[in-house]
Amino acid sequence: MYEFSTLGWVRHVVFHPFEGFEDLRWKKQGSLKVALILVVMLFIAMVANNRMVGFAFNTNTVKVFNVVPLIVQSVVYFATWVIGNWCICTLLDGEGTLKKICVYSAYALVPYIICSYIAVFISNFIITEEAIWFHAFTYLGMGWSIILMISAMKAVHQYSIPKTLVSIVLTLVAMLLILFLAILLLSLFQQVYVFVYTIYTEIAYRIRG
């Protein structure tokens, strides 16, 4: 039983929200390569949502396109989620390793990614009166992914449901902390860089002059 190809496992966990991740864990399956590809696809979905969605549905300002916020919203958020969750659950007797958390979380994002693509695709063929289709796919993907994510965290750490929910809330707090520290660090390094650069120019002028 449960002999699937790598992609077959992705399909299995997506369509079996309650048992899928337990099976994945039991069979010691899940590919990091697929997980990373999924994260890249998430990023592409974000870009598509910004640039290729039907004009009438595009609420983003289209005058200037900046890719940095989209990278942050997909790749950086995902990375902080994985690290934050690992930090919290290591302390809370979770059984998941960093690699497993990464793989399981990425698998849980599949419905969101696919529904984003579908929503973007159909938004080019519908008018705002039929916006219900667009929103239906968006919310369907989101809801499904949230359920999968809870199930994934439950399976990877072997938690009860209440403990899973608590750990997820704590993870969100941890994410905030990590991002805060990262921004702090970045601005500090920027100061250091400016300082060094000023000294460099000063010296350069003196040598030349």
Partner: protein, 541 residues
Amino acid sequence: MNGIKTSVRKLLCLTLAACTAISMSVTAFADEPYESYNYDNWDEAIPSQSAYTVQKTVTGADMGLSRLSDPADPLFYSEEASASLSEAKDFYVYDDKEIWIADSGNNRILRLDENYNIIGRYYGVTGLEADRCEETQDGAISTFKAPQGLYVTTSPTTGKYTIYIADYDNSRVVRATVESATELKCEQEYTKPEEALYTSKTFNPTKVLVDYAENVYAVVKSVNTGSVQFKADGSFTGFYGANRVEVTAKVIAQKLWRKIASNEQIEGMSRNVPVEYANFDMDGEGFIYTVTEVSTDTDAVKKINPAGYNVWDNVVGDEYTFGDHTDAVWDMASNKTYSTKLTDIAIDGDGIINVLDFETGRVFQYDRLCNLICIFGTKNSSADQRGAFLNPNAVDTIGTNVIVLEGSKTRNDITVFEKTVFGKNLHKAFEFFDAGQYVEAAPYWEEVIKRDGGYTYAHVGLGKADLKNGEYKSALDRFEIANDKDDYDKAFEYYREEWLRNNFTAVAVVVIVLVVLLIVKKILKKKGIKLIKRKNKKEAE
């Protein structure tokens, strides 16, 4: 794919636009002491062409005010009569023929013809009791003291040429008939209402307006319950069209404190009262437009119907913005923060609305649907450039020109703005556009786009024309440039319908093939036939 294509195209457009903008700024040279701008559909200021340009400025000397101190002239008043305007507060254009100026600092009313030459001057009114009058060149007259506003009309009941003057320091509004070039005969005085409803201690009218039924409306200083309304016979009828209190965090906080505080504490608190409006004007249909000198959105410009109700106080009206779209602008040259302070409004015969911003010296022109047409004029601390103002006090239209009254200590004159070719095309285009004649408006929009490719309404207008002509694809492109989502959606609905009708066979074939394939697959699965044999890893091992 469509998305990618359009974004590439957009990028190309942007680069091209940037290149042209850079090259143009080197060669093109504007006459005005400011750079014309307009707002796009993202509410961002973008450079535009000048729709109006300064034709001339008219000073007191140009008007011939020296005649007032020339004993040989019929308009002679006294040797000391000033030959220039002094802090003129308001003017009124009567029937595009005559301009009446309230020359507040010189306590007089001036009457100019359409070429800005003086044809009358009035220092007071005759026909009042002798003890209130003083002897002057014109005989016994009750003189004006700092008249701030006026309104001129032909009385619908008597047919006489009638003027209403807000005589500020005399605490009265005067209705007088124009008898000659020097004489106004008083018919009625409107003074401080002696009624309980009128709570203010003073009555200093600043602006005056009269409707078709000869009701008189006066904006009175420090009365914030609306304009004071009188009947023709001078009786007080009430207040008209008050502003609302703007809801800010401070107001809400005070409302909460009032619930807790004792009566003594409440007495000590400042009250939240609406701001009185600065000026008003009436359009051809009898609607009264008011402007309020506040830096905020609430009731900055209102259109009031005869019942005193703001007809723009609804979903449509809430989308209207007047003045600059920014809350406050910091000016680098003067190191000062400017915020919008709308001080005068003028509606011309075509329903075009001109709003004057005192703080920035800009005139904002709107069509009857409150679409921003153009912006012109600027503020200048020295006010020594044509088209720049220090104290712009009033705006009005005469014929196709817009005139602005500058009334500061150092400079007093009338600036006459005339339409450029760009402005003429804009007005023509908006005229058809507002009437829903989009196809007729199209050639004018083309002219507008030739001069300003970033003009939003031009793209909307051309898109609507395309829509009407059934050219849905180009309509879609136009609406996308203008960022007009609602019209884009409408055009897209037609475009999709047309596309489906033209390609129905292809679509139907694809759908049928897909359905057949699915059925075949199901049948095959049921019978256990595999078309492609999959390698089974476990078996291979």
